[in-house]
């Protein structure tokens, strides 16, 4: 079996000339390489790390933070083949239709195309993440085999379903780690060369700044060489993509693709504050698939609570999901509220059980939530980043309104009730956590003044540079990004094939 190349063994000052260079061996880079496998396109995939965790390589991710507390930049992602799929939770769900729409209550919203454009790519993306048959909300018709669904009255929240990536033949039932899982397949692709320990330190533009001419490569061991590809796809994740674009300022002083000061802005993630509410089920019977992921019809799945498309439009809320977490005890007021309300509704609550409710919250796009370069430099001499993390009171309030609606619907169905546990900003911030989903720093828009890349993910103004991954998502709903970014990358693969046809 052919092996991967190691950049440390490439003769210094070598110039490589592939048709296409892919920067980054995460889910986007690997999906793109596999999608181009049966083409004559000569592809070079450049991965900074090796096949496993290396502390010195991981240190390249260190950066500064300000604003709302966030996960350290060197802990929120992994820098070796497979990227952050090496530590993901495997949650999968396609984006909703409204996630793509221009909405007048969501500043800076609107993808350049609708969900229909991505739909042909979901089945293959589903295969790559190994989440089983593409079922999602169809599971509502089948879940009762494993136990009843929680009755909800008519309203703005419904029971939505996530499916889970499950690495085929993995004895630990882990989600698919793209590097290890697809290494053998990548080695079999005739026109593909995967190169490990290859750090891209600069995107060098040609004179006139209309095209990308050269990639500078460096290794931590001190080797340096160049790549001169016809086309390049930057697939390094929303944070590292930003760093490379901004740091490559030799020709364009503001950085590549940053002529309108957009690169690094609109950084986003799913906020996942803990214990946001208490959910009480009057009869105490809550099926297992609300509390953990279970097997059914060839997939692992879990039920969550999400706002309907109509509710999002009517109440001007964004995407969110509520997840049932662990059993909790009620205080005196809680016991009284449950007993008295259930009795007034004519329901027996003698076996009532209470659970804490977790969540995932989409944030309103915010240009000031951003990454910028600092004066600090890493071991390769590249400037480090600083993240200014923000979350608004409105972000909390929109999610709270959604869960309040869930409470109303449970009362209407006489199935249970809700206590909203957080109200003030201080209360929310005291339980904050994040999804480690990095999005939005190179957003997609047809207008160069509003987006870094166009509808084909090509960097505005640069003829041969594309960006793959969730950095191009303008908005992102409550769905985890991986399966969706793989689908978007497969769409980009079709575009790349057309360029070479």
């Amino acid at each position: 079996m052919p092996s991967f190349l190691d950049a440390r063994s490439v003769p210094r000052d070598t110039v490589l000339t592939p048709d296409l260079a892919i920067i980054g061996g995460g889910p986007a880079g690997i999906s793109l390489a596999l999608a181009l496998a049966r083409t004559p396109i000569k592809v070079l995939l450049l991965e900074s790390g090796g096949m496993g965790f290396e502390a010195e390589t991981q240190k390249l991710y260190e950066g500064a933070e300000t604003g709302v507390s966030y996960i350290p930049l060197d802990a929120t992602r992994l820098r070796f083949l497979g990227g952050s799929t090496n530590h993901w939770g495997g949650w999968c769900r396609p984006l909703d239709e409204s996630d793509f729409e221009k909405r007048d209550w969501v500043d800076h919203s609107g993808w350049p195309f609708s969900r229909k454009e991505l739909e042909p790519y979901f089945p293959r993306a589903q295969e790559l993440v190994e989440a089983g048959p593409f079922l999602y909300d169809e599971l509502a018709h089948h879940a009762s085999v494993l136990g009843p669904m929680l009755p909800l009255g008519p309203g703005g929240v419904y029971t939505s379903f996530f499916q889970f990536s499950q690495w085929r033949n993995n004895k630990d039932h882990l989600p698919t780690h793209f590097g290890e899982r697809y290494a053998a397949e990548l080695k079999q692709v005739p026109n593909l060369q995967v190169m490990l320990h290859a750090n891209v330190t600069a995107l060098k533009l040609a004179k006139g700044a209309r095209s990308l001419d050269q990639l500078d490569i460096a290794t931590l061991a001190g080797n340096r060489f160049m790549v001169k590809p016809r086309y390049t796809v930057l697939a390094a994740g929303a944070i590292e993509t930003t760093r490379l674009l901004l740091a490559s300022n030799e020709v364009m002083a503001t950085g590549v693709g940053n002529q309108n000061d957009l690169v690094g802005r609109y950084f986003a993630d799913h906020a996942i504050p803990r214990d946001t509410a208490t959910l009480v089920v009057f009869d105490g019977n809550l099926s297992g698939y609300y509390k953990t992921n279970l097997n059914l019809k060839g997939t692992r799945f879990r039920a969550t609570f999400s706002p309907t498309e109509a509710f999002k439009r009517e109440r001007h809320v964004l995407g969110s999901l509520g997840t049932v977490e662990q059993h909790v005890e009620l205080d005196g007021l809680g016991k009284a509220a449950v007993a008295e309300t259930a009795a007034a509704l004519g329901v027996d609550a003698s076996k009532a059980r209470a659970f804490s409710l977790g969540c995932g919250i989409e944030l309103m796009p915010d240009p000031e939530r951003r990454l910028t370069l600092t004066g600090e430099r890493d071991a390769l001499g590249m400037p480090r980043l600083k993240l200014d993390m923000r979350i608004s009171d409105g972000d909390f309030a929109r999610y709270r309104e959604t869960i309040r609606e869930l409470g109303r619907q449970m009362l209407a169905a006489r199935s249970g009730m809700i206590r909203l546990a957080r109200k003030t900003r201080a209360e929310w911030l005291s339980v904050m956590d994040w999804g480690n989903h990095h999005l939005g720093t190179a957003r997609m828009h047809n207008d160069p003044k509003q987006g870094v890349v166009d509808a084909n993910a090509k960097v505005h103004g640069i003829a041969n540079l594309f960006i793959a991954g969730s950095s191009v998502f303008p908005t992102y709903g409550s769905s985890n990004p991986t399966m969706n970014l793989v689908a978007l990358t497969l769409r980009l693969a079709d575009h790349v094939k057309a360029l070479f046809a």
């Binding site: 509220a337 008295e340 007034a344 109303r408 009362l411 206590r419």
Partner: protein, 127 residues
């Protein structure tokens, strides 16, 4: 001892047993009656409304939180509004209508039908 006397002696324990049983039944009836009528409360002008509550003690716990959060709470106004709103309908029906009309409120985070919260507030104010 004549057969008649023997019979009388034999009946005495039976009679005693029967009388004892009657006593238990009577006492049980008293207890049962007490259980039906529930704990007694001082009469209030709002008893027609408070009688709708399943458990006034539980309701008071909720109601204290409602009153504490509402500086302008007025018991007379609340009672008048509740009578108009409920209009003799069963409480369960009124609560269902509240939910359908999004007429809900929060009591220390608990999402409750507005009528329920106001009845509880009345119970707390009347206690």
């Amino acid at each position: 001892m004549s057969d008649g006397l023997k019979a009388m002696i034999a009946r005495r324990p039976l009679l005693a047993g029967a009388l004892a049983a009657l006593g238990i039944a009577v006492a049980g009836g008293v207890v049962y009656e007490a259980g039906l009528s529930g704990p007694s409360y001082p009469q209030t002008p709002y008893d027609d409304l408070l009688a709708l509550l399943p458990d006034r003690v539980q309701a008071q716990v909720i109601g204290e939180a409602v009153v504490a959060a509402n500086a302008t709470f007025d018991v007379e106004t609340t009672a008048r509004q509740l009578r108009a709103h409920i209009g003799g309908k069963p409480l369960a029906d009124v609560l269902a209508a509240d939910m359908a009309a999004d007429n809900i409120t929060e009591v220390k985070g608990w999402v409750l039908p507005e009528t329920m919260a106001q009845l509880c507030a009345l119970a707390a104010a009347a206690a």
